[in-house]
Symmetry: C2
Subunit: 367 residues, 2 copies
């Protein structure tokens, strides 16, 4: 297949490109490299050395909101993988500028891409990275995209996103559904759980904005810091290792939907609470003699800290997804990989400084 | 009450400002006047002479996406009425530029406003104009905002918007809910039906972009053109006269929600199909001796032309909304008002040129 990866320089984009090339696909990529800049701007840097496009060939470093190069590329594309979005919930909640930039780049970037696909490659398969966070934590089973039965059957399951970043993904979802329905485009919209772990040449972030929780915990364990649990730690989400994300995206690409079809995949291996993850990281760290401690700190986010959580995730399994069930082993390998970089860890960038809301606001989560 | 109207120069903004001032409220307004420019840019002009802020005093002509003047205004505001959005579905479907401008101005403008309210007037009541078109035309009863019962009770009823304009309103809805839940803002989100008719000093548009269907039919009747019905004409929506819109917005303002409360009003008087409206306009025109004809033209939109439609609209009635049930009389008055301007009608701007989709796309409305 001929595949274009938008955001090819990123945490997922680069290992996906390598994997797809190994499987015989013809891969092209675009990236404006803004992730590298933004992480540095927050005072951080990837803990691991990054491979990515800067060490390979200069592709088109171009923003999706200004993307006008599809016509100049080989437009006989089978698929476009869209990973070129601002990925941090915390960054989107920092101030009006970062919130606006998040929705500007994500929503208008994807909107621009949809128009370009309609014009230049209307039969290509759009694989778009969304997030399980679009659903929030409702008091009912979360289906895989649409409401499965009853009078509302076939309508999109209601979204309850928890940051302006998560909202940008919800807006994308609605825009993509419309483009499929109105223009006959086809798309797989990936509601992805939280990714962790590493693959050769990929970045590893651990700061409050761009570091996801397992990666951050593992870095804290190696640095001799207590694992910083936000609030009570009952917050439960779906998780998957980076290699599973690559496996799932490949399955989506190699099993495309029909023309005009919009489908949703809930992409994660298993759900865990923050407390469960802290226990697993703690045990893994102690096996390395790290004497890991835990600390419940004030939650900077506005979210339920104890809640029901039961999302369906069947479609990827039906396509053959073989999850890495042994999360303990994955976390063990990650800590082992971090230990040689212990001296490079910047402890001062880990603790959260961005608050979701002014402290005087009271929350009852009634909406 | 101290009320700020964003979009005070518009079709609804100006008569609302006059009405609120009559009722003793202290009204301030902002407008960047872009509606006037955009209508002219499409080769059209309001059929009726416009009053509005240009003839009164120069307020702050400022874009909501760049709105930084709340702090310089009297910030002791009781309410902000947000009408400052790009209002045309057809214009949003014209090309990538108008689609992007629509979502840029509407979604990011409202996002910017939410941040400003959080900082400068967190207790003010945001009255935001959405549209009944956010819901689309599902095969089930449309509740007033949230799902009323069952396991999903309290979640937002799924949206199925039919243009990038309607989608911009859906995105606003999600952003506003989040701001209420996270920051404790309060808001009334108005899902408004299609407004028609006129009040003294207000504009009347009849072009394919900015003219709504009843106003356009009435202008066609006076101009001696057939009423141009898009497709089969079974498309059914909620409608209300402009004076009812003013009445409803006033009710929302004078009966504000609690702190942190987000509520939805479905704001319309009654539902009609396009064919029913064409019959009413035809009868009213014939009473003036106009010999009105009807013409079913190819539908430029992608929409169901025969469908179930049953939206709930109880909350405004409970607050005392007294609908103008006699739509025939309202349409009679509108035709009477148009007749003196017959010579100014630009026939060439009425027929639709903007297509929702390339003609080769087939639709089964399965999503």
């Amino acid at each position: 297949m001929r595949i274009l990866i938008l955001g090819i320089d990123g945490y997922i984009g680069w290992p996906l490109a390598l994997h797809l090339r190994e499987r015989g696909h013809k891969v092209t990529g675009l990236d404006n490299l803004i992730r590298r800049y933004r992480v540095q701007h927050e005072g951080s840097e990837s803990l691991f050395p990054i491979d990515g496009i800067l060490k390979k060939q200069p592709e088109f470093p171009i923003d999706t909101t200004g993307l006008k190069y599809l016509m100049e590329l080989d437009c006989d594309l089978d698929a476009i993988v869209h990973l070129a979005e601002q990925p941090s919930a915390a960054w989107s909640m920092k101030d009006v500028t970062t919130a606006t930039k998040t929705q500007y780049h994500n929503v208008l970037g994807t909107l621009n891409l949809l128009w370009l696909m309609q014009e230049y490659c209307p039969t290509a398969h759009l694989v778009k990275l969304g997030t399980m966070g679009e659903y929030g934590t409702p008091d009912c089973v979360i289906p895989e995209g649409e409401i499965p039965d009853g009078p509302m059957a076939g309508l999109l399951f209601p979204r309850s996103a928890g940051s302006f970043y998560h909202l940008s993904k919800v807006h994308d979802t609605y825009n993509i559904i419309f483009a499929c329905k109105t223009w006959g485009l086809r798309s797989t919209d990936i509601m992805q759980g939280v990714v962790f772990g590493h693959l050769p040449g990929t970045r590893l972030d651990y700061d409050e904005c761009f570091g996801t929780v397992i990666n951050r915990f593992c870095v804290e364990a190696v640095a001799g810091m207590p694992l910083t649990i936000y609030g009570q730690g009952g917050q439960t989400r779906g998780y998957l290792p980076l290699k599973d994300s690559i496996q799932c995206l490949t399955l989506a690409l190699e099993n495309p939907p029909e023309d005009g079809e919009y489908r949703t995949f809930n992409q994660f291996a298993e759900t865990y609470s923050i407390n469960e993850l802290a226990d697993i990281v703690s045990d893994a760290g102690n096996a390395f003699g790290l004497e890991v401690k835990k600390d419940h700190i004030s939650n900077p986010r506005v979210e339920k800290e104890e809640h029901f959580y039961s999302p369906v995730h069947k479609k990827l399994a039906e396509l053959g997804y073989d999850p890495s069930w042994d999360i303990k082993n994955e976390i063990h390998k990650l800590i082992e990989a971090i230990i040689p970089y212990k001296k490079d860890i910047r402890k001062e960038i880990i603790l959260p400084k961005i608050q979701w809301a002014p402290s005087e606001v009271k929350h009852d989560f009634s909406i």
